[in-house]
Every structure is written in C-alpha cells, then in structure tokens.
C-alpha cells in the first residue's frame, strides 16, 4: 500500500490537471474513467510499480534509482558496412577495416560488449533496411549501421548509431577522406559512439609517444593508442628521452643530448621543428612534464649539482626553481588541476613520492612503504597516483588512492614494469616492461587487467599517453 501511494497521489494530480486542461466533456470523462481504472490497477499491482517509499509526500516522483548494482557492458552490434554510391572491391575492404577498428576500439574501452560477428551474421541487413528487432532479439542495445561509398577523391563513410529498441538514431556523421584514413575515420566513429553513451571521449583518438632504441641512439616515436601508424619523430642519432605531450597534443617536451648535454626541447608537430627551450641557468634538464593548461613545463635540473624541480614558462622562456633541498628531486608529474606536482625525492633517504604545490609550498610525502618509488603519474580524475616501486629487486606498477592512501599492486611476476602513464579517460595505463626479455610498451586496464604489448620493431621505453 505504501509503495503505491506516491503513484496514487500522482494520478489524482493528473486527473485534476486533465479536467482543467481538457475542456472536451467526453474526453475528460474518458480520462477520468481511465484514471480510475489505472488507480485500481495500481492498487492491485503495487509490486509492478515498485517505487521506494516516499520520505516527503510533496515530492512524489522519482525518475531514476541508483543502487550498488554493477555496471554492465553495453551490448552493441556492428553489422558489415552497406555498399554506398559506386562501391567497389576497395571500398568493401576499407569498410571491413573500419568495422574491425570500431570493434576493437569499443571492446578496448571495456564499456561495450560488441556482439561477435558469428552471432550477428545470421541477421540479414538488406540495402538500407536494418532489422532492428533481430538485433534486439540477439541482445544488442545499439546498432552501428555504416555505409561506405566512393566519391571522386576518396571514400565517403556514414556511421550511424541506432537504439535497437526504439529504432531511434542516437548519433551519426558522414566522413569523407582518402582510403588511407580508414583507421582514423573508424576511430572517430568509435569516439562518437563513446560520447553518445558516456558523454566523454574515450581513447580512440589518442596516441602514445615513446623512446625507441636504435643502436646506441634513442629516438622519439609516436603511434596510435592501438599500436598502429608508428612514426619516427626525432632523427638526430643521439639520446632523446622522456617525451611529454602538451595538453593539446600538438607539441612534445623532451630531453635531447644532441648538443652534448641533456637539454630541454619542444617539438612542434605543426612544422616539425625541434626547438631548444632550455632556460638560462638551469641546464642539464631531465624529465619534463607539461602543465594541464599548456602554459608551463616542470622539469628537473641538476645544474646546481643536486637535481631540483624548476618551472619553465613556455611563453616567455623564464624558469623558476620550486624545490630547494638536499637530495635529488626528479620525475615530476603535474596534477590534473594544475595546482600540485607529484615527484620523486630521496630527501628522506630512500626515493619516495612527494607532492608539492606548483608555487613550491605545502610539501608532503605520499608513499610511506617501499624501498624505491619512482615515476609518479596522476590520474586524469586526480584521485589516483600510479608509480613504479621496486619489490624484490624488480619494479612493479602500483596505484595509490590519494584520498584513502590505499595502495593497489597492478603488475607482478613479469620482469620490470616502469614508467606508468594514464590514458586520457583514466580507464587505462601505459607502461614499459621487459617481461619478455627486451623492453616493450604495454597497456592495461586501470585495475591491472588485460596487459597487452604494443608491437614495436625496437626496444621501447618511457611512454606518454596524449590527453
């Protein structure tokens, strides 16, 4: 009885309104009768409309209820792309590429359950007709209907996302481009799907920068988050280290020995220039990290003999020292708010993770256990810090919950695992590991699941994930 009372209250309100608004006597009579019927039914089936008991009778309605239930993956069907205008063999191949990239993007996100092709192959998608009911029967919530056709310079791709139950179009765009951009188009479609369901971008469009070994030299390379499209950035046959993405993804801060000493450089992706940005008075730079607003770079410099943290103003090239202590302060990482910087310091003896305000005040130590903690990385949400810690002689990736101080170990029994960095959506981590004998770049979920190597034809370390 109490369960139904808010609804009863609402129905009463409803009928009152209806009579007020609806002047047609027959209609209002029908409505009143129906409302009465409804009321009776509600009383008979209170369980059908299970609704929490109201604390406040003045607020009778509830839209949604959130409990502790686990979040389920969104089942989604991606049938083969339809043939659009003047489609041919090539467009069909490109369409298959696009379909497989969308599938792997959505699967990688961990938020979607892409129905296996064998399951949906039974559903016939005739030209322009999507059998939504068949897909819904297979359990799919969403259906990604793509069309690919040819247009004079390249291909034209339509990616439409439908809700299988209401058959409503949720999102859709048309892309035009060279067939070589197939993967890029697919990543964009996958990202649109991600935004449609979660409100946020995923990692589909993100990229990973890393240091690749080439003989005695180390060069900077960039690839898509999924390992495709590997490109070499520096070619100066010296040591190029610790690349860090600018927040807009257009520049990289890095350290290069091309002039003999380690110096700070900014690589500009727009014109391919590598500019020496070492501020005067703080040579011997290492480990730069870009501030979230893109205006400053924090780095460690040992020009005074003892490595300390400095801030470089990217606009005017001036620098300012923010740590002054005996012992080395290095591996800084900016918090997503831009207010704090996490770094490694051995001021207390062993290297530990510390946090300091970007102004240089309010220093505090974050890690208390472990013999060697290094390379802190702040999660995009600001609530967690990943770092590498030496356990039994080998480094592993740990994650510290900043608020509770709770530490979770993500890697174990797999060689050294170092240099963790977060994906832009905070759901994944990238790191380097020598578990197979030589160093490679790996990604994993934020809980340590699905550790996968990204294929590189060289030894790779020091990854950073673009924002």
């Amino acid at each position: 009885m109490s369960a139904a009372s808010p609804l009863v209250d609402r129905v009463v309100t409803n009928s009152r309104r209806s009579t007020r608004v609806c002047h047609h006597p027959v209609k209002s009579a029908v409505r009143a009768a129906a409302c009465a019927l409804c009321l009776v039914l509600l009383l008979v089936w209170p369980g059908l409309f299970a609704s929490p008991s109201p604390q406040d009778p003045n607020q009778p309605h509830i839209d949604l209820k959130i409990t502790g239930a686990a979040v389920r993956q969104i089942p989604i069907a991606i049938p083969p792309m339809q043939r659009g205008a003047s489609a041919d063999g090539e467009t069909q191949a490109v369409g298959e590429t696009i379909r497989s990239v969308i599938t792997s993007d959505l699967t990688y996100s961990g938020l979607f359950n892409v129905l296996p092709p064998s399951l949906i192959s039974s559903v016939r998608v005739a030209s322009g007709r999507i059998p939504f009911r068949d897909f819904a029967a297979l359990g799919a919530d969403g259906v990604v209907a793509g069309t690919i056709g040819r247009e004079s310079p390249g291909v034209v791709v339509e990616g439409l996302l439908f809700d299988s139950k209401s058959e409503a179009l949720i999102a859709g765009k048309r892309y035009r481009g060279d067939p070589s951009l197939a993967r890029d188009i697919a990543h964009r479609i996958a990202n649109d799907i991600m935004i449609a369901y979660t409100g946020r971008s995923g990692v589909s469009l993100s990229r990973i920068v890393m240091v690749g070994k080439a003989g005695s030299a180390k060069e900077i390379h960039v690839m898509d988050y999924d390992g495709a499209d590997l490109k070499q950035i520096t070619r100066n046959k010296s040591l190029n280290l610790s690349p860090s993405w600018s927040p807009d993804g257009k520049r990289l801060a890095l350290v290069s020995y091309r002039q003999g000493n380690p110096k700070l450089y900014i690589y500009n992706g727009d014109d391919g220039s590598l500019r020496d940005s070492t501020p005067k008075g703080s040579e011997l730079c290492v480990a730069p990290d870009w501030s979230p607003d893109g205006g400053r770079i924090v780095f460690s410099s040992s020009s005074s003999g003892d490595s300390e943290l400095f801030l470089l103003d990217v606009g005017n090239g001036r620098s300012r020292q923010i740590t002054f202590s005996r012992g080395s302060d290095t591996s800084p990482d900016w918090s997503p708010s831009g207010r704090e910087i996490a770094f490694t310091s051995d001021r207390s003896g062993r290297p530990h993770i510390y946090v300091i305000d970007a102004e240089g005040a309010n220093l505090r130590r974050l890690t208390s256990s472990g013999e060697y903690n290094d390379s802190a990385a702040w999660s995009p949400g600001g609530d967690k810090i990943a770092y590498a810690s030496r356990i039994d002689g080998r480094f592993d990736i740990l994650v510290l919950d900043v608020a509770s101080g709770k530490v979770t170990r993500l890697t174990r029994d797999s060689g050294n695992n170092e240099n963790p960095r977060w994906s832009p959506d905070g759901r994944h981590l990238v790191f380097s590991s020598n578990r197979t004998g030589s160093y490679r770049i790996y990604t994993m979920d934020a809980d340590g699941n699905r550790q996968t190597a990204l294929p590189t034809p060289f030894e790779a370390t020091m990854p950073d994930w673009s924002r």
Binding site: N14, D63, L64, I66, R129, A171
Partner: protein
Amino acid sequence: MRFRVRVRWSEGSERVLMGMAGFSAAAHLAAAVLLSVIPRFIPPPELPKTTIAEIVPASALFARAPSGGQQDATALPLSDSTPSQRAEAARKAASQEPPEKPAPRPEKPDKKPAAKKIDKTVPPLAPKKDKRETPPVEPSSSGTSDPVETQDTSRAPEPATSPGPAGISFGGSASGAGIPSIGSSAFPYDYYRSSLVAILQSNWRRPVAPEGVGQAVSCRIQFTILKSGIIQQPRVASPSGNDALDASALRAVYDSNPLPPLPFQYGHASVSAEVVFELTGDE
C-alpha cells in the same frame, strides 16, 4: 677569343626588351609564389595526424545533429512538433541535398538507400513511443488517451516504467517547473535513461553503510540536463540523514558531468531529472 654581340637598335628592339623584362618579372614572381607555397604542401614530419576527413554531422542527413555535443539548438524548430511533422522534417532533410553541401552531386540516386533508411527509421520514432511505453502502463496511458497530446499541454504525468537492469527502477512524472522530467513520457528515450543510470553508477563511490544494517537509506538528487549534456544545478532534493551518502551522491552527479548530449530528436532545451541513490544495508 672574343665574341662581340652586336645589338642593332631598331624601333622594335625596345618592345622586345620590355617584353623580356616583363616576362622575367613574371617568372620571378611565379617562382617566388611557388617557393613560398610549395612547402605548405610538403607534409611536415607529422605529430598530429593530419586528417582530411570531412565531417558532415548527421544534421545534414537528419533533422538534428546528434553527436559530439556540438549540435546546433536552432537548426530546426522541432520542439513540440507532432511526430508526423517530425517525420516530415526528417524526410525532407533526408531526401533533399543537405544545405551545407557545396555542389549537387551526381550520385544522387545512389544516395537513395540512405534516404530510404531514414524514412524507415525516423517515423517509427513516434508511433514506437506509444507502442513501447504503453504495455507497462496501459491503464494510465490509455486513460490520458494520447500521450503526444498531453505532452503539449499539461504534460500530464504517466509512469514511463520500463524494465531496467536489476536494482534500477524508472518512475515517471512531470516536474512542477516548465521542463519535462526525464522519467515522463515527454522523454521517451529508454536508451538515454539507461546510459544515465550506468554513468551515475560507475561514478558513485558509495560510502560505508551506516550502523543499522539491513536498513536501506536513500537520498534524492535533482538536476537539469541541457541539450549538450551539461548538468546544471544539482542539489540534494531530499536528504537521507546520512551526510556521507548525500555528499557521495552529489559528487557522483558532479563527476558525471558532462552527460551524453540529449537525443537530438528531443524537442526541448533541457530535461529535469530526479535520481534516488540508495544504500542498501547488506553492503
């Protein structure tokens, strides 16, 4: 050895010389232009992937642009339009060349499948609505005879109950303010509701349940979702008495901002939502 070049000066020579000078100037100019322009076409060692994919949002194909949060709210006066109008608009937008398109393209007949698809998919939206929502609520919805009609007038509340995942229940009603409630029939988008629940659930860090084990406590959070998915004015509408729960629920809403853009077929600028966060004792 010496060469002697004899230039015979005649009436025409001056013209020839001037012509040569002119040609030389033009050639130099052309060379300069080429030199300055060509480097732009030589791709730099690329860091950001240069994309030449042209993006035409679905607004060109459909009545409204959906994705990316960059839809234009003023594209079409869709609000409160009847389903047939909406279908008509969609059909028109679909069968015509989209206005943004620069030139009429020859494959127009080939594009028909797309148009056909749209014809098929958009109109069902409205009929689907009653079909989809009536079964669970047949009494009240048959009582209000026509949900579309009521939506325009008083937005009479109807419980838009739908089977959600375990633990989640949808209730529906109208909000006192002028904007429709997310639970009402004026917002017939189950997929959006389930996305919203999933997002809030994933962002909710539940506090430890209070002493009285077995007793469920809940608080109610109210907020408005704008067309772009931005959350506005979240507030605790009815507190649970457990401050930690209230704070965590409010925090979950803040952390979920922005939500996915509202369905582009939805005709209003915003929707109000009232969400109950419930801590069950057995956790």
